[in-house]
């Protein structure tokens, strides 16, 4: 193990673990009230270690296995170690761990440590419709305070907005009025549940257009021809919503461009 990595482990065990100890229970409770299946979240996975008290007023440093600790004599709480001192401490800690765990490799020990959150998540019943709401519930998740740091609430916001857009598309899809049909025809009359719209096959050669078309090109063609309405510009919200609904109905179907 590289010394630098150990150093960071030490920092985590000494400061971060203790610092989080109070907030975790509240956070976990809040999670459980909204997620009945109790899918483990990243916050819950931070383990709280009980670091023994110092016997002589120095500082106890614990390895992140939660068991192995040594006392740095003469180091007061909050006092920084010198670089050399820190190196020496890490070596001492690891030597102690090796003595106590003969024949084991450090990496394996770390993985065996707590109950695997990932396997627990895999067994949890997560409905397909909501699968996008939660991040992959694994311990090994990268976190930050600002960027790429999203909570379950964020996922819900995203999903709600997406569903609204799709629902808007569904409404238009089913409404000859919103489609601007002059003859009372709407998309669902030939495509119930957007069946036979095959969005996964685009781009494809479309014989009515005699060229390669995108899904939106074909939507527009249908609006102009069988529906007898006016074509929508490519950035029209209605066209975008229709496209959203059609794509959403084919969730899970593999892309297969050019298929006939």
């Amino acid at each position: 193990m590289h010394p630098n990595r150990l150093l960071s482990i030490l920092t985590l065990s000494a400061a971060a673990i203790i610092g989080l100890a109070f907030t975790i229970p509240f956070h976990a409770r809040a999670q459980q009230s909204t997620v009945p299946q109790s899918v483990p979240t990243s916050s819950e996975q931070v383990v709280h270690h009980n670091v023994p008290a110092s016997t002589d007023g120095g500082t106890v440093i614990m390895l992140c296995d939660g068991k192995t600790s040594i006392e740095v004599k003469g180091l007061k709480a909050g006092e920084p170690m010198s670089h050399a001192q820190a190196i020496a401490v890490t070596h001492e800690l690891m030597d102690k761990w090796r003595r106590e765990n003969p024949g084991e490799k450090w990496e394996m020990a770390q993985e065996n440590q707590p109950e695997s959150a990932a396997s627990a998540a895999a067994n949890a019943p997560v409905s397909a419709a909501h699968s996008a709401k939660s991040p992959p519930p694994t311990r090994k998740i990268q976190q930050g305070d600002t960027y790429a740091s999203f909570t379950d609430r964020d996922y819900k916001i995203w999903q709600t907005e997406t569903d609204k857009f799709v629902a808007e598309g569904k409404t238009i899809f089913h409404s000859s009025k919103l489609l601007g049909s002059t003859i009372g025809v709407s998309c669902d009359m030939c495509h119930p549940d957007a069946a036979n719209t095959h969005p996964e096959t685009y781009p494809k050669y479309q014989v009515q257009l005699q060229r390669v078309a995108l899904l939106r090109d074909m939507i527009d063609w249908c609006i102009e021809n069988p529906v007898k309405g006016k074509t929508l510009s490519p950035d029209d919200e209605k066209l975008r919503a229709l496209e959203a609904y059609i794509l959403a109905q084919r969730k899970g179907v593999p892309l297969d461009y050019g298929k006939h």
Binding site: S175, K177, S181, T182, S186, V207, Q208, L209, Q210, R211
Partner: protein, 441 residues
């Protein structure tokens, strides 16, 4: 040009009698020479797919084919050659409503152009011949076209002409056979490719190659005009056709389809084959049945092949019976939704094109002219334009705009119309019953 058509039609016989060396003169014209494939817009891929492996192009075959194409000795009275009806000076047509053959007899069909005919999936207006080769026996043996008694008679006649023996020997390494006559003429026809038009240059990226009006026409061609779905075009297949058969109602007002179809069926069940179909198509009123003569399927009644649109200003008049003189008439026909009949193609509906939109479409069609026909086409365009300002026999404003029942002047919406009714223009039918979707979940 259009105005002089009647006169031309009437006196063309005399012209042929008067100039016996006409065919030879035709053959020497620049327009009759094999064309280069080095043209903007030339469909190289397609070209290689459609040359039959059993009849590759060779200079000897092309040269022989050209001789035969312009040789009136292929006909029974030594007066009609292929070029009589497929004159290079007229875009390889005769610019007549229907063609005139032996003894000044007129058939029922308009002569299609040889230009780009090599790309057709089937030949003739009704697709009764599968290839250029197979097509050739039709006119040669038809009694009112070139009038030869049989294919054997044609072979015997050519074997008596000394210069052909050597040419056939050189091209095919043997005696004259009808099969080789077909292969030689078809080879020459495969050198008649016409692209290189302003529109080809436009598609290749030259924005200035066509006018703004033509560009508007191109948009209509793809959109409101619904032209593209049948007269399909793209760089791989730039022929402006789907090579399929549609009943657009052209023969509906001249033919009573039901009795005709029964009559044709009775005849074809006694004697089938290409020759009988050819006879019915060229010499009888059953001609208007079109594709039905070949397939005997009711939905093919009155169906004719979608024609390519290149150089169409020099191949007028239009449709399988040459019944329309100008491109405005043609567009008027489509604009009102064709002529109603029980077998009308379900894709033919009123288009609602305004006068200026029709002008735009014609301006676009005029850009499909290959360089060798530019001058002729310009002249024809001017004449058609002038005529279209005063003479519009096919125009039916109300039907086109869906303001009345189709083809029913002054009458609002009879059954059988598939365009929107009068009220659809005032009231949105959707107002009658919007579907509750989310509100009721």
């Amino acid at each position: 040009m259009a105005r002089s058509k009647l006169i031309l039609w009437g006196v063309v016989t005399l012209a042929i009698f008067a100039f016996s060396s006409r065919a030879l003169a035709q053959a020497n014209q620049p327009l009759a020479q094999p064309k280069s494939t080095n043209q903007v817009g030339f469909p190289t891929d397609l070209y290689h797919w459609v040359i039959p492996p059993d009849n590759p192009l060779t200079p000897a075959k092309v040269s022989l084919g050209k001789e035969l194409f312009f040789d009136s000795r292929l006909s029974a009275d030594d007066k009609e050659s292929c070029s009589t009806c497929h004159d290079p000076q007229k875009g390889f047509t005769d610019q007549l409503p229907t063609s005139m053959g032996i003894h000044a007899q007129f058939g029922q069909r308009n002569a299609p152009s040889v230009l780009n005919a090599m790309f057709n999936t089937l030949q003739f207006w009704d697709g009764r011949a599968p290839t250029l080769e197979a097509q050739i026996q039709g006119p040669i043996t038809n009694p009112i076209e070139m009038g030869m008694a049989s294919m054997d008679a044609e072979v015997a006649k050519l074997r008596a002409i000394p210069e052909y023996a050597a040419d056939f020997q050189k091209a095919f390494g043997g005696q004259i056979t009808f099969h080789d006559i077909e292969r030689a003429i078809a080879s020459y026809e495969r050198t008649q490719v016409a692209f290189d038009s302003p529109f080809d240059r436009f598609l290749a990226g030259d924005q200035k190659a066509i006018s703004d009006q033509a560009k508007r026409g191109w948009a209509l061609y793809n959109g409101q005009g619904r032209c593209m779905s049948c007269h399909g075009v793209n760089p791989t297949q730039p022929l402006f056709t789907d090579f399929k058969f549609h009943n657009i109602g052209v023969s509906a007002h001249k033919s009573d389809f039901v009795p005709l179809a029964r009559k044709a069926l009775a005849l074809l069940s006694q004697k089938g084959g290409l020759q009988e179909i050819d006879r019915l198509a060229i010499q009888t009123d059953m001609s208007g049945l079109g594709r039905f003569l070949v397939t005997k399927q009711p939905h093919d009644i009155g169906g004719f092949r979608t024609m390519g649109l290149r150089n169409l200003l020099v191949t007028e008049p239009y449709f399988h019976d040459g019944s329309q003189a100008t491109l405005w008439d043609v567009i008027d026909h489509y604009n009102k939704g064709g002529v109603q009949n029980p077998y009308l193609d379900g894709g033919i509906v009123p288009l609602g094109l305004s006068e200026s939109q029709e002008d735009d479409l014609v301006a676009f069609l005029a850009t499909l002219t290959s360089p060798e026909y530019t001058k002729q086409a310009q002249k024809e365009y001017q004449e058609q334009f002038k005529r279209s300002r005063t003479d519009r026999p096919q125009r039916d404003e109300a039907a086109a705009m869906g303001l009345s029942g189709r083809n029913g002047p002054g009458f609002s919406g009879p059954f059988g119309d598939i365009g929107p009714g009068e009220a659809a223009m005032r009231e949105n039918p959707a107002d009658l019953g919007g579907r509750p979707v989310d509100s009721l979940k």
